[in-house]
Symmetry: C2
Subunit: 342 residues, 2 copies
């Protein structure tokens, strides 16, 4: 830490040329000839010269960093989105600072404050399970630092949102099960105060209604979709019911795969006794037996879209304030877990 | 961007108190009484005051950021490690800058340079598939910026490594298949110039040797373990062989799950015709039918360990230079995909 910093003046002195030439060469300026450039760059590397992006950022009031807050890094869907954001942002010269809220409002607020103090140029956020208000984002809004919400978005804030049509996806999944002959469709999902789960649930209810099936609240189970929660609700509730539901719409593929495993162990035949449909189209849905029907949710494209919108805004090419909502396309993917009628 | 920055002087003026008091209050100094502190903090929030961590970092020559370069973000194993690093780093007040090399040396070198210029306090790296030399890390070494390698490590650099005993794990996996009666064990794995794959391969060979089975190089297939590569080598090679191998040791669980699906489709009975063992203990290995035997690789603990070592070093509590290699424990997990003898 306390080592002497190598400057362009040190390089200039050693090569007996001007500091201005060194500076231009290190920025790959065309006015410096290739041979000189090489001598300068080689010496810079040898001496361990570090361009002072940090100080230059401070002057420009830009950090070229984008803050990203996600509920959990450890999720196939999230890692696909992050991969898409990182790819586009990195190519445009932006770094990602990533943190996780662990599904709590407090940690999310704390992470937002840290990112604000670190002067990220933009914030990308998918809300925690229990985030109730958005006060922790006020400082960004006041300072006109662009915010993009994705997947789990805030309806009450006037910021850009990138998401899918969760209502439609929920409707499609449920309608598919009904078309396969299911009449009692269990819906296992997350916290209904989050748009993604609420909208899918509304789609589920509407599909039932449109097909003359009365909504039964005993067929709705909300939990955090963890392995523990899935095991719990199936073993201690669903599998003990006198009559098993004949369909299951569960809003994540890992949960669907895990539920399938538990149901099979309990002797439930899928799809004959219970047809299953998941959500996301993760690899896990394809390797199960039977393979699990699902809704294709293009996480990678979502990530790339988010980064492109932000970078165009930050570069002044387009104004994010005119773009309120971007809805990405989803598809119903039918596999054997739900095909009662072949 | 061009908005006027709120300073402690603005807050001091509005409250008719000294800037020093404002500064102390915002740092939660005990000398300022609670009531005054609250007035100051409330006004700071209202005005959108942003603590200048950025400039203060510049003065202190510390950024409180840790750079992390991984081959791909989109991997269950990597996201588990990242989640562990982030959790510990975040609690200690450090931010993570994360980037992916997309398995190429060039992108890895470019990302390392960006992180160096952004003055990360430390670098955490798992090497790309084709990284051949480590010149791109010289600037860190010269500047005494600590580097921790994990999983895919560089043997030739004197830096801290956090990994598992890949030789032992490869030996155990192979030995288990031999104990189940396998005599021709196919080994599908990654680039052997990476330690993780080479060490597992050496373990595989040693287990064969110790059990009097001659190593046959036709039973070694190296590729990038992508879905495409797995499909390719199975459909266009393995499944066309006159005699099928009776065992398969494949060094990642998603690949093992995908291979299982393809083999089952082709009518191969698992484990009777071919016993399978994977690597990592991802959820995907548990939901397959049959469930896939594997090596438990504690990604989350690996991430937490890495972050703790770094933070202890950065806080001056322990010196990373005395810690060369940390080896985490793995376990053989036997499931039905390899149980020929029940």
């Amino acid at each position: 830490m306390s080592q002497k910093e190598i400057t362009i003046y040190d390089i200039a002195e050693k090569l007996a040329i001007s500091a201005a030439t060194v500076s231009r060469a290190l920025q790959n300026h065309p006015a410096v000839n290739a041979k000189t450039k090489k001598r300068i760059v080689d010496l810079a590397n040898e001496l361990g010269y570090q361009s002072n992006k940090f100080a230059s950022n401070l002057r420009k009031q830009k950090t070229h960093t984008i803050g990203v807050i996600v509920p959990r890094l450890n999720s196939a869907f999230m890692s696909t989105v992050l991969s898409g954001i990182e790819k586009v942002a990195n190519n445009a010269g932006y770094n990602l600072i990533i943190s996780q809220s662990f599904e709590t409002h407090d940690k999310e607020a704390q992470n937002a404050q840290t990112m604000f103090n670190n002067r990220v140029d933009a914030l990308v956020i998918s809300l925690a399970y229990d985030t109730k208000d958005y006060k922790h984002l006020n400082s960004f809004i006041k300072k006109k630092i662009p915010i993009i919400f994705f997947d789990r978005v805030a309806d009450k804030i006037d910021a850009t949102k990138v998401l899918i049509d969760n209502f439609k996806a929920g409707y499609q999944a449920t309608e598919h099960l009904i078309q396969q002959g299911c009449k009692e469709i269990l819906h296992i999902t997350g916290n209904l105060s989050r748009n993604v789960y609420n909208d899918r649930f509304e789609g589920y209810k509407k599909a039932l209604e449109d097909n003359g099936i009365k909504y039964d609240q005993k067929l709705l189970i909300c939990n955090d979709l963890s392995e523990k929660a899935i095991e719990d609700c199936l073993k201690n509730d669903v599998l003990k019911r006198t009559k098993l539901p004949d369909g299951l719409f569960i809003t994540s593929d890992p949960s669907a795969a895990y539920a399938l495993t538990i149901l099979k162990e309990a002797g439930v035949k899928v799809p004959q006794d219970m047809a299953i449909i998941g959500f996301n189209n993760d690899l896990i849905s394809r390797v199960c037996e039977p393979a699990i029907s699902t809704i294709n949710y293009p996480g990678n494209q979502m990530g790339e879209t988010i980064a492109r919108i932000l970078i165009n805004h930050l570069n002044g090419e387009s104004d994010i304030n005119y773009m309120n909502t971007v809805i990405l396309k989803t598809d119903l993917i039918v596999r054997n877990s739900s095909l009662k009628k072949k």
